[in-house]
């Protein structure tokens, strides 16, 4: 299980070595999440249409290690975009990955870019 967790490390735009295409914009529901697969990784991608922004993070809930974050509700806390885990409603910043309602759990976040209606996620491998 620890291995599953360790393969998720936050990638900032300057760490990106490859941009992986994961779908077309219209495959992604507005203001909700879906899950994409990259190798052994599961990444939750959020089309934050209200802000014309896109966010990506690990699909793995860091609390109980289940692949569920993409199914959580999105929103904001004091303007910080967040997702609420469907299992126990822990909320995480989609920018910093920080747990916003307690604990010191953290999730890995990934950069997203949109080019000609294609959605790409940045990885360092």
């Amino acid at each position: 299980m620890q291995q599953t967790l360790e393969q998720y490390q936050t990638i900032t735009p300057k760490d990106v070595k490859t941009w992986v295409r994961v779908g077309r914009v219209h495959d992604f529901p507005e203001d909700g999440g879906v899950c994409v697969k990259h190798g052994t990784k599961q990444i939750a991608v959020f089309n934050f249409a209200r802000r014309m922004a896109w966010y990506a993070c690990q699909n793995l809930c860091p609390h109980k290690l289940e692949m569920v974050l993409s199914r959580g509700l999105t929103g904001d806390l004091d303007n910080e975009p967040k997702v609420a885990c469907p299992l126990h409603k822990k909320t995480f910043s989609l920018k910093s990955g920080k747990n916003l309602n307690g604990d010191d759990l953290k999730i890995a976040t990934y950069p997203v870019k949109i080019e000609r209606e294609n959605v790409y996620i940045g990885f360092s491998d």
Binding site: P29, L60, L65, T74, G75
Partner: protein
């Protein structure tokens, strides 16, 4: 700078620090606190909540950092072994010494362990510290694994009954053994104690009165207790709760005056026989008494702080021992002198063995003053009665109105409004907060909510018993200031759910985004999205498919997420009636997808362990066999449970199954502020347990009795009789109105019982609105309900027939693979999620 050393970091020792830390002359003192327990001071009053899931940290009175922030040196796990009065210094068990100018003894008490032979056997515990509780927990789980499940508590006082609840919560069979002829002998009279005993026994706790324990039996560990007269009670563990003994050994060893039967003697300034040493809390002997309650201990701490800082506050002559608590769901309170009855004082009592309520008030013969009383079963008037007693307020013309309520015309309470109390009335006796202090916090310090007032005054932070009264005062005071306490659903919408219901309807708002633009701000959250989704469903009857991403996660995928991220599926089985053919179909589907099957409490069948991508396939099969969504995932009507009724049962009065099916079919799919459950019983034996539901219908001679606003769960509530002997049509008419009124006015995630609790005017008002149509809205309510009924659609049928909607159920959008992280292990011929780490 003067040095103060505090020995003891319990609740009272902490209170001393808190009061001194907030004192204007704080800077003149350096404070060092010694605590022998590893944790800083925690809340012993609510110790039992540790068993109910609270953590040790939840119980802390102040976080560890508080002491440092306030310049207080806290030394935990450090026992003081001696006091040298001549040189004014204390010695720790590690032989380190510290000098003092003032010494505060807040050493508390130890549980009294009677010298019964065998009391040192394994499996015998006391109930005092977190460590005790941990030891009890460990031992209990050990014996349970060996199939031994009986536990006894020695002592039927307050703490003993708490301990009995705790062992019951640990899954053991609890026995309470009391030497006196009744429970809680210091607080209750015979009738009150009897009522409490019946309640306890109903809850499965055995009560043994008049029992002197002569021997604790067993080889190495306890196996039983032997009472006088050779009677033996078999038990696998024992918790002793037979009173307290003040910890006065340090004081005695250094020559301070102590009582014959223990306790450090103090005067009304909390000073011991040494003018530089003060003692506070349960360790003291004040006016020949030892007080095992937190409120007098807090008063003592306040007095000691005042005296040391040059004030003149002294301890009151008589100590108030009033208490109110909830024991295993039974409210018990006693105040003033609960027993007094003589030539000048009469006791007025009310005893109702049906509802299990006993009330007693002791009133002077001239009917002018209340001197004390007892409440069992319903202590809701405790705060008001206590205020009347404490402040010597005038009594109504007929003192019995205080416990019976005013009868006849009008609904004015004999107890009056909280605002009628004098400013000096003490509301929170733990913290000595008066009514004036609370009102002042609002009028002068700008507090606008109960939370603000508690933060500002510290009222209700002790035992918490005064919280309802504080809430009333805050509400009333705000109202008198022209400020309505505003209830909003979350930071994104400045409205209550009821206001949003009206705004969305009037402005014809049809999407969440539109609502956020016109009525809210920000990007929403996991609170307001489902709340508005519920409103759109209630107003337009739209299914969860239309705005899938604002639905709570379970509604979005029309199934209940379980431990490993798999889902469970519950098809509707109206009234719990199902044909053999449909049962076989369910079994086949379960086998085809390898699902774990279990019968639910609502007479349905739950199929667990489905992957997200399997859900549409499972539902395709179920729908082909004639099933519909059971809405088990939604805040919606769940089931209407029934017993077989007059069709089969020889006692049945009416056809309960047929009526249950009719009602479930009528309200299926209707979303509401919280889940809704119903039940129909065919006779008064109530096999459908209908009174534990939001609405319960029971067949009686001449029709149906309708009960409303009950629930099971953590705070069980019996539904209340609403109307009697109704025919089918009238029953449904009232239900339509009641449910719609609830749907329109309740706050999010509020069950009907809580909603009724908070409804001004209560059940009487609700009857006026629903039965007498006092607001003139009955017809509208019925129409709105009828519209919801007429536009019902099974949302699973909708989802599987629409390829666009079906996409939602793929685990990945860029691959047909399934979640390889999800794992199951076998269990009793079925499967279960692989346990969490």
């Amino acid at each position: 700078m003067k040095k103060i050393v505090v020995i003891g970091n319990g609740m009272v020792g902490y209170k001393f620090c808190e009061k001194l830390a907030a004192h204007p002359r704080r800077q003149e003192f350096h404070i060092t606190v010694f605590g022998e327990e590893p944790k800083p001071a925690y809340d012993r009053v609510h110790l039992s909540e540790y068993f109910a899931g609270k953590t040790a940290d939840d119980l802390l009175l102040a976080p560890t950092g508080w002491y440092e922030k306030n310049g207080i040196t806290l030394r935990t796990s450090e026992l003081i072994s001696a006091i040298d009065r001549k040189n004014k210094k204390v010695t720790t068990y590690k032989e380190k010494t510290y000098t003092y100018d003032y010494l505060i003894l807040a050493t508390g008490s130890t549980p009294f362990v009677p010298p019964i032979p065998g009391v040192d056997r394994k499996g015998v515990f006391v109930y005092r510290t977190l460590e005790d509780l941990d030891a009890i927990k460990d031992y209990a789980s050990g014996i349970k694994q060996q199939g031994r499940t009986s536990a006894a508590v020695l002592g039927g006082g307050l703490l003993g009954l708490e301990a009995a609840k705790a062992v019951k919560d640990l899954g053991l069979k609890a026995h309470v053994v009391e030497f006196a002829p009744r429970l809680m002998p210091r607080q209750l009279d015979d009738k009150a104690a009897d009522m409490l005993k019946t309640e306890m026994e109903d809850l499965g706790i055995s009560i043994h009165l008049n029992k002197r324990t002569d021997n604790i039996l067993g080889e190495d560990r306890i196996t039983g207790m032997q009472f006088a007269g050779e009677e033996v009670l078999h038990t696998d563990m024992l918790i002793i709760s037979a009173g307290i003994r003040p910890r006065d050994e340090l004081a005695r060893n250094c020559g301070l005056e102590t009582g014959e039967r223990g306790g450090i003697t103090v005067d009304n300034r909390m000073r011991t026989s040494d003018p530089f040493i003060y003692a506070i809390g349960e360790a003291t002997l004040y006016n020949n008494g030892i007080y095992g309650l937190v409120a007098p201990g807090y008063d003592m701490a306040t007095v000691a702080v005042e005296q040391i800082t040059g004030g003149d506050k002294v301890m009151a002559e008589s100590i108030d021992m009033s208490t109110k608590l909830k024991l295993i769901g039974v409210e018990v309170a006693s105040f003033g002198d609960p027993f007094i009855e003589n030539a000048e004082v009469v006791a007025v009592t009310y005893e109702n063995k049906f509802s299990r309520i006993y009330k007693r008030i002791n009133v002077t013969k001239d009917g002018t003053r209340l001197l004390g009383g007892i409440l069992v079963g319903d202590a809701s008037d405790y705060n008001s009665l206590f205020q009347i007693y404490l402040n010597g307020l005038p009594l109504p013309e007929n003192p019995e109105d205080l416990i019976l309520g005013t009868r006849g015309e009008g609904n004015t309470s004999a107890l009056g409004s909280a605002l009628d109390l004098p400013d000096t009335a003490q509301i929170c006796s733990c913290e000595s907060i008066s009514k004036g202090d609370i009102c002042h916090a609002i009028t002068e310090k700008g507090c606008t909510s109960v939370g603000d007032v508690i933060g500002c005054t510290r009222a209700a932070t002790g035992c918490g018993g005064c919280k309802p009264m504080v809430a009333d005062l805050v509400k009333e005071t705000l109202k008198s200031q022209g400020i309505e306490a505003k209830e909003v659903i979350c930071e994104h919408f400045g409205y209550s759910r009821q206001e949003l219901y009206d705004l969305i309807r009037v402005n014809n708002i049809t999407t969440y985004n539109e609502a956020l633009y016109t009525l809210g701000k920000g990007d929403g959250c996991e609170v307001c999205k489902p709340a508005l989704a519920s409103l759109f469903a209630s107003i337009y009857n739209e299914t969860a498919n239309k705005q899938a991403t604002i639905q709570d996660s379970n509604d979005r995928f029309l199934a209940n997420i379980q431990r490993n991220g798999s889902y469970s599926v519950v098809p509707r089985v109206p009234g719990g009636e199902i044909t053999a053919k449909k049962l076989i179909a369910l079994g086949k589907v379960a086998r085809k997808y390898d699902l774990y099957t279990k019968i639910t409490g609502g007479q349905r069948i739950d199929l667990f362990g489905a992957r997200l991508d399997e859900l549409p396939h499972i539902w395709k099969d179920l729908i082909d066999h004639g099933f519909e969504s059971g809405h088990a995932y939604g805040k919606a009507l769940r089931t209407v449970k029934s017993c077989v009724g007059s069709t089969w049962c020889r006692y049945g009065m009416h056809e309960s199954v047929s009526f249950a099916i009719r009602i479930e079919e009528r309200y299926k799919g209707i979303r509401s502020p919280h889940k809704l459950k119903g039940g129909v019983s065919g006779c008064i034996r109530e096999c459908a347990e209908a009174r534990s539901k939001d609405f319960g219908i029971i067949a009686v001679e001449g029709g149906w009795n309708l009960y409303i606003c009950g629930n099971g769960g953590a705070n069980p509530k019996h539904a209340i009789l609403f109307a009697e002997q109704l025919d089918d049509e009238t029953c449904i008419k009232y239900l339509d109105r009641f449910l719609m009124f609830y749907i329109k006015t309740a706050a999010p995630l509020t069950r009907t019982a809580k909603w009724l609790d908070e409804l001004e005017g209560g059940i009487a008002y609700l009857k006026q609105v629903i039965i007498e149509d006092s607001l003139g809205i009955a017809e509208d309510l019925e129409k709105e309900m009828q519209q919801l009924v007429d536009t019902y659609e099974c949302e699973w049928k909708q989802a599987i027939n629409n390829p666009e909607m079906r996409k939602r159920f793929s685990h990945f959008i860029n691959s047909d693979d399934t979640d390889d992280n999800m794992a199951f292990v076998p269990m009793r011929d079925q499967k279960m999620p692989k346990p969490w780490l």
